[in-house]
Amino acid sequence: MARTNAIGLTKADYKGAPTTLCQGCGHNSILSQIIASLFEMNVRPEDVVKFSGIGCSSKAPTYMLSRSFGFNGLHGRMPALATGALVADRTIKGIGMSGDGDTASIGMGHFKHVIRRNVPFVYIVANNGVYGLTKGQFSATADKGLVLKRQGENPYMPIDICMEALASNASFVARTFAGDPKQVKALLKAAFHHKGLAVIDIISPCVTFNNRPDSRYSYEWAKDHEAALHQIDFVPPEEEIWLGEGLEPGEARPIRLHDGSTIVLKQVDEDYDPTDRFGAIKAIEESYAQNVLLTGLLYIDPEAPNIYDILDLPDEPLNRLPEARLRPPAEALEALNAGLFAA
């Protein structure tokens, strides 16, 4: 019998339609980790909603969580779509799945502005440096100098998703690699419990169009060059934090999230403070100089006000308020009329 979690569900309860992505596509690994993390966190699929734009990455949500609502919107507009929807029910948690084309080209403006609004959802960029679904054109995150079939050589400097997120004051910024499932899962859990927008840039190789070993987006390069900032553990609110066998307190850094859960970073670089935005920028800069793929939780501000704080909405789902709480009474209209300039 399949293993069940604390709310009695099996992993199958978190699955979606069979994937139609290519065999070996990084996006498929991401899907597995989303499923695994929700299963392990005992989240009801009904309490999750999925959003995406357009691309192979954006098709992915079809292949998970068929018991969750989902909206596969327009190319580049996922952040806006998710913002509108998430306002409707604060008790639901969002997962937005996008690609590097979807986010770093056509969706760049919305990406920046959803960050400013700190809308609480997990914003995954399944980043393969290429346009998969349209068959292999350069995306804005492609390495300078990369040569792709039919496209020639990319002459432009790449956009760095994490750098962009940090520049615009994102409250949660992480980078990971689809080939490092453990880290992906841990970061997903942390992101899921973050109070605001959690940006996760996941290097997710496109085996069909951009997996040559000289590409930063290939499995081979990423595996060989991954440099993890730390090991990440997520501790749900109800559990006690356990820093690990024989670990000195100084060797682990716990970060408390708004809902009482905790992220524990182990084997941390002593100097690295994930609540220091500028330090995160610096680390990214240096990772390029060192030619490594820096992964881990780069930055977090666990308490930054989110859009619910800003809009001052009721705690109940807005979409369930009855007419009596939405339509002002007749007296209000009388007062309004009385306040107008009348003859």
Binding site: K50, F71, L318, N319, L336, A343
Partner: protein, 609 residues
């Protein structure tokens, strides 16, 4: 016209009085607060019981450019814009000469004495006024002098025309939200100016006002505010917007009134989420997200914004998401004339987005319909699970119109076919299967669930790609045909939820006029002229929605000649009518014009008689 010799040549004062039947146009500089003066005049006349309208002709600019305000006073209640200007007030040295040219022969030209017209006309009555001097003497701080100088013409006109000073006082107090100091300062200038005029001007023109009883029980407001309030009373829950003239005040009014009207009676929190988006692409996608998730969602913009929303509207159409798009039309194509009015987005919006579409448009024709459609559009969108376009225009949206006090929505909110947990439970008990896009009732409108519904099987996956009745991805040709034909049916059948056209008839009419939206006053006046001066009684059908009700076809069938009057270049509604009623295509005559100004009755008549 005879003329005096001194001090200014002007016609003899012996003409019969013209009472409550003229237009006043004031030429000022924008950014100098003339709006306060003009509204004071407009409101005072209205308070005196005289039908009025006020139209602001302003530049696409913030400060220092010419701007004009025209008040039409008409005892018969005809308040459309006119090309005739009986009384012109010149406060702007840059436009004084063209302002003078505007005055109709026999009319009045009133100008501030720091302004020097280059020529004079002997066929108009001319008065000057010491606007700056009186402003200086008002005790107003230097920064406010330009503002209060504009109060001088209010006072002078009050004297010349006989406008009730108490009414002006009331108008100012209203304007300044009851603030005594500002009211007193400004009213002081008005009084002083009136006194000065009484002492120094000899009336030589025939124009004056007299109190009437034609506005009792009415209010003055602008269409954008009315719409905003209507939406708030319609239970609006989500607004996304991006600033743009002439639509911004829809959102700004909503934002201003959320604290007043939409604090949750239970929690004291806001029950409307209003977000200023980063652009119109975001605005519409947010609104679609919200509408999809079960919120009554709206976005407000003008033509350029609609253009940017094009792709997303196709998504809403095909994924069947309720959302209201307010289009406060200004002059296009392109950036065009951002501060002028047009009914120019009709065919564009109807066919909006690639692929086969046909959209729902509502055309409010006055203040009360702006309010009503403000709430009704939310009902329609949710009932039909479709984008609904509320086609305003700058004239109705930003100018001041008379109206009745707003009426409380006549019916409870129609949330359409939404299934919550208990509904699905009941369906299950009845052995009914729910599929998102199934035409259960034969009216083309499927049942929907919304995000947050936790019932097993309530969730579905929404997409703009091909999908079948159960919302499953599909590239099957037959499925595509079926789903899209069902949507077409939804629009055909759904017409019954849209506001019906309004019919006005005249005895013996063989001529039919079709029009819509803010041209209402021009049509009303034109019909009067056609009947009285050209012996052409007419029937008039005011269309209030597209797709058309059968009444529209019937109306065309019943008239030998049907003239479609509209404020655009290409006769856009006429085009839609020809498509819809090919059998009458030849009897549909188009009379259209777009110059950025509201239509005049004279022009309407010119194309019909």
């Amino acid at each position: 016209m005879t003329s005096e010799t001194a001090p200014h040549p002007s016609p003899a004062p012996t003409r019969p009085a013209v009472v409550n039947d003229f237009s006043i146009t004031v030429g000022t500089i924008n950014g100098t607060g003339s709006q306060t003066s003009n509204l004071a005049l407009l409101r005072a006349l209205f308070r005196m019981g005289i039908p009025v309208s006020g139209k602001n002709l302003f530049p696409s600019n913030i400060q220092g450019m010419p701007t004009w305000y025209t008040i039409r006073v008409d005892k018969d209640g005809f308040i459309a814009r006119r090309d005739r200007h009986e009384i012109v007030v010149a406060m702007n040295p840059a436009t004084v000469d063209e302002d003078l040219d505007k005055v109709m022969p026999g009319g009045v030209f009133l100008y501030a004495d720091h302004i020097k017209p280059r020529h004079m006309r002997d066929d108009v009555v001319t008065y000057t006024m010491p606007a700056r001097k009186l402003a200086r003497e008002s005790g107003a701080p230097p920064k406010l002098r330009d503002y209060v100088a504009n109060m001088v013409y209010v006072g002078v006109l009050a004297h010349l025309l006989g406008i009730d000073l108490d009414a002006i006082h009331a108008a100012l107090r209203y304007h300044f939200h009851g603030k005594e100091k500002a009211t007193a300062l400004n009213f002081g200038v008005v009084q002083k100016a009136a006194e000065w005029a009484a002492a120094n001007l000899q009336k030589r023109d025939p124009y004056r006002v007299e109190p009437m009883d034609a506005t009792r029980g009415m209010i003055l407001s602008d269409g954008n505010s009315a719409l905003a309030w209507g939406a708030l009373f319609g239970g609006l829950q989500f607004l996304s917007w991006y600033p743009i003239t002439p639509a911004s005040s829809v959102a700004e009014t909503i934002n201003e009134y959320i604290p007043k009207l939409r604090k949750d009676p239970v929690t004291g929190k806001n029950t409307v989420a209003s977000i200023q988006a980063e652009d119109e692409l975001a605005a519409i996608n947010m609104a679609i997200g919200a509408g999809w998730a079960g919120l009554r969602a709206m976005t407000s913009t003008s033509g350029p914004g609609i253009s940017l929303m094009t792709e997303a509207v196709g998504l809403a159409y095909y994924a069947e998401v309720p959302v209201v798009l307010v289009d406060v039309q200004r002059v296009g194509p392109s950036t065009g004339l951002p501060t002028r009015t047009q009914q120019g987005d009709i065919t564009f919006v109807y066919f909006l987005s690639h692929g086969d579409t046909e959209h729902i448009m509502l055309f409010p024709g006055n203040l009360n319909e702006a309010f009503e459609f403000g709430w009704r559009s939310l009902d329609i969108a949710e009932r039909l699970q479709a984008p609904v376009f509320l086609m305003m225009d700058l004239d109705l949206g930003m100018n001041h119109w008379m109206g009745k006090p707003f009426e409380y929505p006549a019916q409870p909110m129609d949330r359409g076919k939404v299934l919550w947990e208990e509904d699905l439970k009941k369906w299950a008990e009845e052995g009914r299967r729910w599929c998102r896009y199934e035409d259960v009732d034969g009216d083309g409108v499927p049942y929907r669930t919304v995000m947050g519904n936790r019932y097993p099987g309530a969730a579905y996956f929404t997409r703009g790609t091909g999908h079948d009745e159960c919302a499953r991805y599909s590239e099957d040709p037959e499925v595509w045909v079926r789903v899209n034909q069902r949507i077409k049916k939804k629009y055909r059948e759904g017409r019954k939820y849209l506001p019906k056209p309004v019919l006005h008839t005249m005895e013996g009419a063989r001529l039919g006029i079709i029009a819509y939206g803010s041209t209402e006053p021009a049509i009303a006046e034109a019909r009067h002229i056609l009947q009285t001066e050209h012996d052409m009684p007419s029937d008039y059908l005011r269309v209030r929605a597209v797709p058309f009700h059968d009444e529209v076809g019937d109306f065309i069938a019943q008239h030998e000649r049907v003239v479609v009057v509209e404020a655009n270049r290409d006769g856009q509604l006429a085009q839609l009518l020809r498509i819809t009623y090919p059998e009458f295509a030849t009897r549909i005559e188009s009379h259209s014009r777009s110059d950025g100004l509201p239509l005049t009755a004279e022009w309407v008549v010119s194309g019909i008689r």
